[in-house]
């Protein structure tokens, strides 16, 4: 029968709508301001007792809290507050009570009820422009990284020629190493040496008057590797440091070839954040002290690794070399196929290392990882106001202490590791401690919490007003059909919110604008259909036929119009960053959901209202008069609808 959907189609629509409501629902529950407490180091667990101490401290300061619980088996704990205004004060109080072993972060704890959370429904994430916080864009100084690599090659080549007793001059020229020889035979010998040492270099022979030159250059691929290495090294270090900042949901992400984006929701103190992000870790190589060494000559250090927590080692006070001499560290395999870490030093470092190890074979050498950390002290000033003072100190912990098997030079291996995973972890830490390629802050945005809250309020208000105006217009202009369109439009909004929540998309201010725009444009599909139905009615076609033909004929137009808009939205997503991406996501999702609701949803409603019965007239507003004086090719019309 005309204008009746089969039962499965109606059920499908109902199912989709129910799904939409279910996954959109968590956004109705406003999150609680909360404190998230975590251990300063991975091994530091939180006990019920320390959580109670925090609670006592808050109680004595008159701050209301509830719902305190341990999470992830005691790795973190959550404490919900009643009043958002008190969040910062509460953080200071708890931080003071628990001391430096714990990190107290501001958090917004979702209040999603269990019946929603069990199905994986979660509220949308808010972008920084809505939640407040800091956004950094860092750029890794790629030129410096390349320069350091070429210097390493230069040193290596010099050493290689010396060992092979080939006479010639080696010099740096920009990003290439120039070797100059007196005769061709030396150059050929040198070429073989360089090729054996560094097969990745591009070698080029040039003959000049009485001198034979050899240019060694970095290939594009090597440069790309150097950049990649420098960026991933910085990425690791920054990830480690962000955790110290006490941010509940930080984002550290690589962007493009040499940029890193860091987003820290809730953070206001950018200076502090930059100090921690920009600080440099370091390494120290020292011999393990002999048992009979006097205490004044040695120091005791703990292992950094959690699996060896509590174990200590005595090291000599003398430092062989520190991190700035390390030019690279990579996980590899030794000649027996066992996991190993290959370490490269610069020439100065190689010399120092060889001098120190020559006479100490079979002794052990410790590698210390040094991090700048802060201790918080509380002091009262003249007015008796208590202020927190952060005192920096260096934390030195032992990474590894292998036995020296032979005299070491500029390149050596640490072997005897248990697994490739351990090797790559160690290489990562060595790289993090080696002088990292310098980073610059190229973009920085701070949004205060009040501005964020205001942006949300304004956004919600414009969605409401915009939607209200459209609803009013549609109902007045299209009557019953307008009501159907408005219902579909509202379901469209619900579906859009549900999809965004489900995909974990971030809602930004331009994203809200995208939603508003979707509201305006989503009715377009309905307008197209209704205009068609009106035209058909004006041509004296029966109401049921008009509904049928109106929907059928408008669909192709709607598809064409929306697919092209989708193309634009996808380009926007590919090119844009941050908030613009948010806009592109809402726009594309909005197009998809609006096609569903406008075509299938409205049709189902109209079918429900008018379908399958005798209808004399449709409540769709004023009909247009048909255009006069046209000769219509019936065959063409039928050919099209077929």
């Amino acid at each position: 029968m005309l204008n009746r959907y089969p039962i499965w189609k109606n059920l499908f629509i109902v199912a989709v709508v129910a799904f939409g409501f279910y996954y959109a629902a968590p956004n109705l529950y406003t999150p609680d301001p909360a404190l998230q407490i975590g251990g300063a180091s991975g091994s530091q667990a939180i006990t019920q007792a320390s959580l109670e101490r925090a609670g006592q401290a808050l109680k004595s300061e008159g701050i209301d809290f509830f719902g305190e619980e341990l999470q992830e088996g005691g790795k973190t704990a959550l404490l919900r507050l009643r009043d958002r205004e008190q969040q910062l004060r509460a953080q200071a109080i708890v931080a003071r009570e628990l001391g430096d072993d714990f990190i107290v972060a501001l958090n917004l704890a979702p209040t999603t009820p269990d019946w929603l959370a069990d199905g994986g429904a979660q509220p949308m994430k808010l972008g920084l422009d809505l939640s407040g916080g800091v956004h950094f864009k860092l750029e890794v100084d790629v030129d410096a990284a390349t320069q350091r690599r070429i210097e390493m090659y230069e040193a290596g080549i010099k050493r290689g020629l010396r060992e092979e007793r080939i006479r010639g001059m080696v010099a740096l020229d920009g990003t290439q190493v120039v070797l100059r020889f007196r005769d061709e035979a030396s150059r050929e010998a040198a070429r073989r040496v360089v090729y054996d040492l560094y097969p990745e270099l591009l070698l080029d022979r040039v003959d000049e008057e009485s001198s034979w030159l050899l240019f060694a250059q970095l290939t594009e691929q090597t440069i790309a590797e150097v950049i990649d290495y420098a960026v991933s090294q910085n990425l690791t270090t920054i990830r480690n440091r962000v955790n110290e900042l006490g941010v509940s949901e930080p984002l550290v992400q690589r962007q493009g070839s040499n940029r890193i984006v860091v987003e820290l929701p809730g953070i206001q103190d950018t200076a502090e954040a930059k100090r921690i992000l920009g600080k440099v870790a370091n390494l120290e190589f020292r011999l393990v002290a002999q048992t009979n060494a006097p205490v004044t000559d040695k120091q005791k250090f703990e292992y950094r690794d959690e699996s060896r927590a509590g174990m200590t080692e005595w090291l000599e006070r003398d430092v062989i070399i520190s991190g700035e001499r390390v030019s690279g560290a990579n996980a590899s395999f030794d000649q027996n196929g066992q996991p190993a870490v290959l370490i490269n030093l610069d020439s100065e470092g190689g010399m120092l290392m060889s001098r120190a190890t020559r006479n100490n074979i079979k002794r052990r050498m410790g590698v210390l990882f040094i991090e700048r950390k802060y201790r918080t002290r509380y002091q009262r000033d003249e007015q008796g106001v208590e202020a927190a003072i952060r005192v920096p100190y260096d934390e030195k912990k032992l990474l590894t202490a292998p036995v020296i098997q032979s005299a070491l030079g500029a390149q050596f291996q640490i072997t005897g590791l248990d697994s490739p995973a351990e090797a790559s972890e160690l290489a990562l830490m060595l790289r993090a401690g080696a002088l990292a390629a310098p980073i610059n802050f190229v973009e920085e945005r701070t949004v205060g919490p009040s501005l964020g809250a205001e942006n949300i309020a304004l956004g919600v208000k414009s969605v409401q007003i915009g939607l209200g105006l459209v609803v009013l217009f549609m109902v007045l202009y299209y009557r019953v059909f307008g009501v159907a369109a408005v219902v579909a439009l509202s379901v469209n909004l619900v579906l859009l919110v549900a999809l965004m929540s489900l995909l974990g998309a971030t809602l930004t201010l331009p994203g809200i604008a995208g939603i508003v725009l979707t509201v305006g444009m989503a009715v377009d599909a309905n307008v197209l259909i209704f205009a068609r139905i009106r035209e058909e009615l004006a041509n004296r076609i029966s109401p049921q036929m008009a509904i049928h033909a109106g929907f059928e004929r408008a669909v192709a137009t709607i598809l064409d119009a929306n697919i092209t808009t989708l193309i634009v939205a996808i380009i926007l997503y590919a090119v844009g960053t941050g908030p613009i991406k948010g806009f592109a996501v809402t726009l594309s999702l909005g197009i998809l959901t609006s096609m569903f609701t406008a075509i299938l949803g409205t049709r189902a409603l109209i079918n429900f209202i008018y379908g399958g019965r005798r209808v004399d007239s449709l409540s769709i507003g004023r009909l247009p008069k048909p255009v006069d004086g046209l000769i219509v090719d019936r065959q063409a019309v039928e050919g099209e609808s077929a």
Binding site: K137, E139, Q268, T270, A271, F441, V442, E444, R445, T446, G448, L451, E454, N455, L458, G459, K461, S462, I465, L467, L469, L509, P510, I512, A513, V516, L517, G520, M521, V523, V527, L528, A531, E535, T557, D560, A561, T564, T565, I567, V568, I571, L572, A574, V575, G576, P579, I580, A584, L587, P626, V627, D628, G629, L630, I631, V632, D633, A636, E640
Partner: protein, 304 residues
């Protein structure tokens, strides 16, 4: 209903569009765009004072503290102050400037936002933005050419370029800041205007196939008349929500809403006059949109 003779006025419309394009180009050339922070780089600080802010006092404070070239304006309300530092100040300066303002101010100051954009980021963005625009136009042309016909693709792209240039010219003439959100709005305008153009093109194609013994100019007039209702209703609803956004969405979204308002208005106009006029100028005819005849059985029936 009478056919509205849209195309009768096409030379006037062409004159108007041509003039608008010349003005827009001239303005873009002479006055250029008032690039926002996203594109120029620099530092921007928004603070809220406890009471009405004395802009002159703030200016002299900043001058004396070595923030030469700082532009101080009020933003939204008279308590909100926006300070823009030119390129050359480091990423630290925004934070220290807030402290300077805080020390000099008699009332409480609340930091609303700080934005710092390095010079390299801005240049890249401008390049990427232009590229995105061209890419969008190119892909759209390809799709329309594939779905309709080459002449329709040209008509659509000419209309889109017209709209983009119009909005750019508007922003340049009015000296309104052109930031990243405006760029996004411009791409959305492409999407919207395209939507309109395609609906009209769809009807033109249909009528070319359906109507007999009628000149192309009349086919276009009929199509435009038939789609006019829909064109106006959709534009109206979109303009309604954009108006809500422009009036109630706050300062940060204002440029975005404005760009779309102008874009949607001109997009509606261009789908009627620019793309249709271009189609006529290229001599669009029934043959251009004929349903391709399948070889074999059906061709036999066409024998006279």
């Amino acid at each position: 209903m009478n056919i509205l003779p849209f195309m009768k006025w096409r030379s006037i419309a062409a004159l108007f569009s041509g003039l608008a394009m010349v003005v827009a180009l001239a303005s873009l050339f002479v006055q250029q765009l008032n690039w926002g922070l996203d594109f120029t780089g620099g530092t921007l600080v928004e603070v809220e004072y406890g009471d009405t802010a004395d802009l002159n006092a703030i200016r002299s404070t900043l001058d004396s503290q070595g923030y030469a070239g700082a532009v101080v304006v009020s933003f939204g309300t008279d308590r909100d102050v926006l300070v823009r530092l030119p390129q050359g100040f480091s990423d630290e300066d925004g934070v220290t400037m807030v402290d300077v303002l805080r020390d000099a101010s008699p009332t409480e100051i609340e930091l609303r936002r700080i934005e710092f954009v390095g010079p390299q980021v801005g240049d890249e963005l401008r390049e990427q933005g232009g590229l995105a625009m061209l890419l969008a136009l190119g892909l759209v042309m390809l799709y329309v050419g594939f779905r309709f016909q080459f002449k329709f693709a040209v008509g659509a792209v000419v209309a889109l370029a017209h709209d983009v240039l119009f909005v750019l010219g508007f922003f340049s003439l009015a000296g309104i800041e052109f930031d990243l959100t405006v760029l996004a709005a411009l791409l959305a305008v492409i999407g919207y205007s395209l939507n309109d153009t395609i609906v009209v093109a769809d009807r033109i194609r249909e009528n070319f196939r359906k109507l007999r013994r009628i000149a192309p100019i009349e086919v276009i007039n009929v199509s435009l008349t038939e789609t006019l209702g829909r064109t106006l209703v959709t534009s109206l609803t979109t303009l309604l929500v954009l108006l809500a956004l422009a009036l109630f969405g706050g300062e940060m979204i204002h440029g975005f809403a404005l760009a779309l308002l102008v874009g949607v208005a001109v997009g509606t106009y261009s789908s009627i006059y620019v793309s249709a006029t271009t189609l006529l100028a290229m001599g669009v005819s029934k043959e251009d949109v004929a349903i391709p005849i399948k070889e074999g059985v059906e061709s036999d029936e066409l024998q006279p």
